[in-house]
Amino acid sequence: MSDSAPRNLGFFVGALITLSFFGMAVAAQYWTPYDPAVLSIVEKLQRPSLHHWFGTDQLGRDVLSMVMAGARNSVEVASVSVIIGVLLGVPLGFTAAARRGVIDEVIMRGNDVVFAFPALLLAILITAVLGPGAINAVVAIGIFNIPVFARVTRGGALQLWTRDYSLAARAAGKGPLRISVEHFLPNLVGLLVVQGTIQFSLGVIAEAALSYVGLGAQPPDISWGRMLNEAQTLTALAPSLALFPGFAVLLFVLGLNLLGDGLRRRRERAP
């Protein structure tokens, strides 16, 4: 009893942080304190105040509103890239586990090739080829997610193939595809959710990094990475400009990791 309390605490704190960022992202869709796209040179570089909680930037935009809009951008990019990874990676993993032999080798060695490139380098490569932009950033991060999900799925499925119930299902005339979908997928959902949470947090970091080097979201779209980039030149003048988006990335990623870790532990403890 006593040793489970701090773990649960991590899980709840993680869930709380993650939910608030998601809430912020959804809210930004409909309402922000100020329009983050509207410039107001008169109000530029203000310190945090009651009117502008996080202050304003060099163009007079409200930083709180920008952080909210940035959350929306991060959540969009990270979710779509995780979805790409799941939609392509999971079927690949199931196929590799069910067919084994040559097909398994081809799929997994293909995965190794993608894995061999550092994630960020790969993303820079792809966006450099496809051209900078939010959509291309999503594709680049998504491609990196494919082998991750393929591996997790294959590993889980290989283990489940050794269970007698997969034999029982075959004795009931079911094929590998049907067994994978009906039996294995529900059993691997927990594992995939945990991995999804981790990949989501990596997606948030990757998006911020790509935007920071100018290969992600393009103006007038707002991204935490771009905010950091723009704040960089003004660190001496207005250090708080870098503080808020930086903290946003840090806190969001921390929350996601706490959540992922908590989910993993819950799974391990479950019978």
Partner: protein, 530 residues
């Protein structure tokens, strides 16, 4: 008063939360004495072993005393206990697969125990390890220190575990179901080894088991546990004949499996399953760049046949090819040669609709009552899974009615359909597996070690059920097992398999009373008897 006994357990109580696991348990073991601890799973046997080692789970509360040579272990510090475990008390667990570190040479694993307790050089530790492995019967190349656990058979791994437990010559050895996962031949060797060690080294041995036959063969005294209490204890020879506690009597009755078939099979009955000249090869890892390795021939030209309503046994040790043969018979794997016919029709090469139609006639029950079910599925969905073989699976209401019917046939209730596998005990799960096999009204059901994982009492009940179902539904069984008692009690005829070949077959009674092949004779001789 003379010397205190080697191990004394005095009024031991262990509880976890509100549940009392052990109640007022008192035991003594002397030097050189073999004490059997018998009981059903959940009776507290393993918890007693953990209490002796002071390895209880953190939430457990313990009252009473455990004394080793009069020195109380209860209340000792963790550091002091660590010095005692391994050096004064050794333990061997049931599962030889998981008790060893898969990535460590067996010599190092045994030597590690030595170096944890004595400051000796690596070379000396290896020498002691060598001696212990020799003692455990792993001599020469077979027990080379550099071997890894996966290269060893189950019995050899159990010997490594025993070597680890006895390398420091502990005064007391606790063996928790050390032979339950092994087949008869290996079991006999391991039991002999343990007995020998106890006598030669004057070592106390606590042998935990659920098998009265093992107790009768090996132990000097035994204690019978039931729901956390010792209900009877005494000298083995005297007590076995006159058990008073109802649980003990039930165990004794269950251990003595009587032939259960009442309806004789007519020779003229049609064949439901025929296997002809089955050969099954598995590719082996390539060792040379130029030549593919010769394949491993697991099944080598096996033929067997089953008449309608007949119960046929297939016995052999692990590794004899029984499971490979079974998979071919179930058309889950394709043989390299030979054919399987079900109801006279070609099964092994059938495809598509024909395969699905024939599969309805042959269903299967697996060994592991825990691994045979998708934990996410309800019992109704699990039992109804083979309906996939029907061209027109029954609609919801009809399906529910049919599932309810088979559930009642196997002695469960219709309301169990809505529950999930984890809510059931091992025996109940095996009933669910039987229900799943019955749902397509097959002509033959294959059982792959289907009762090996069950307690003696539960096993007797399941066998009773199977015999009754066979008679009532005119079912044929293929009963694959390494347990000769079971095969003898339930089958009409039997095939004995060794190294991929059938070495003997005939009516069960004839084979058991006058085995002709040396292997069959050895198997029968190795089986513990009451």
């Amino acid at each position: 008063m003379s010397e205190p006994a080697l191990l004394e357990i005095d009024a031991l109580n262990v509880s976890i939360g509100a549940a009392e696991i052990l109640k007022n348990l008192s035991l003594e073991v002397g030097a050189g004495e073999i004490l059997g601890l018998v009981g059903a799973s959940g009776s507290g046997k393993s918890m007693t072993a953990l209490a002796i080692m002071q390895l209880l789970p953190p939430h457990a509360r313990l009252r009473g005393a455990v004394r080793l040579r009069g020195d109380p272990l209860t209340g000792k510090s963790e550091a002091a206990l660590r010095g005692i475990r391994g050096r004064d008390i050794g333990i061997v667990f049931q599962e030889p697969m998981t008790a060893l570190n898969p990535l460590m040479h067996i010599g190092d694993q045994v030597a590690e125990t030595v170096r944890l307790h004595r400051s000796v050089s690596a070379a000396e530790a290896r020498m002691l390890a060598r001696e212990a492995l020799d003692l455990a019967g792993l001599r020469g190349a077979q027990g080379a220190l550099e071997r890894l656990p996966f290269e060893l058979s189950g019995g050899q791994r159990q010997r490594v575990a025993i070597a680890m437990a006895v390398v420091l010559a502990p005064a007391l050895l606790v063996a928790d179901e050390p032979t339950t996962a092994l087949d008869v031949g290996t079991q006999a060797q391991v039991l002999r080894l343990l007995q020998d060690l106890a006598h030669r080294r004057n070592m106390g041995l606590i042998l935990i088991t659920h098998d009265l036959a093992v107790v009768a063969q090996v132990t000097d005294r035994f204690a019978l546990m039931h729901q956390g209490e010792i209900v009877e204890q005494g000298a083995t020879g005297q007590m076995l004949g006159q058990l008073r506690h109802p649980y003990g009597r039930a165990l004794l009755a269950a251990a003595d499996l009587k032939p259960k078939r009442s309806v004789p099979v007519r020779e003229s009955a049609p064949m439901v399953l025929q296997a002809q000249g089955i050969v099954r090869d598995y590719p082996r890892r390539r060792r040379s760049l130029w030549h593919a390795a010769a394949p491993l021939r697991a099944v080598d030209g096996v033929s067997l046949s089953i008449h309608a309503g007949e119960t046929v046994g297939l016995v052999g040790e692990s590794g004899s090819g029984k499971s490979s043969l079974l998979r071919v018979i179930l058309a889950l794997e394709t043989p390299q040669a030979g054919e399987v016919r079900v109801l006279g029709e070609m099964f092994s090469t059938a495809r598509g609709a024909a395969l699905r139609r024939l599969r309805r006639s042959i269903q299967v029950v697996f060994q592991d009552p825990y691994g045979s079910f998708d934990p996410e599925w309800s019992v109704e969905r699990l039992i109804a899974e083979p309906f996939y073989l029907l061209d027109a699976p029954p609609a919801a209401a009809e399906r529910r009615r049919k599932v309810a019917k088979v559930l009642e046939q196997v002695g469960l209730s219709a309301s169990d359909a809505r529950r999930y596998p984890h809510e059931f005990s091992g025996g109940q799960r095996q009933r669910i597996a039987i229900a799943r096999a019955l749902i397509t009204e097959p002509a033959v059901i294959a059982f792959d070690e289907a009762v090996s994982a069950l307690d003696v009492l539960v096993r007797a009940q399941i066998l009773e059920l199977l015999a009754e179902l066979a008679d009532r539904l005119k079912l044929a069984y293929l009963f694959v097992s390494h347990d000769l008692h079971v095969v003898r009690s339930i089958t009409d005829s039997v095939y004995v398999m060794q190294q991929g070949r059938i070495v003997e077959h005939g009516p069960t009674q004839t084979v058991f009373e006058g085995p002709r092949h040396a292997y069959t004779q050895a198997l029968i001789a190795a089986t513990p008897r009451l």
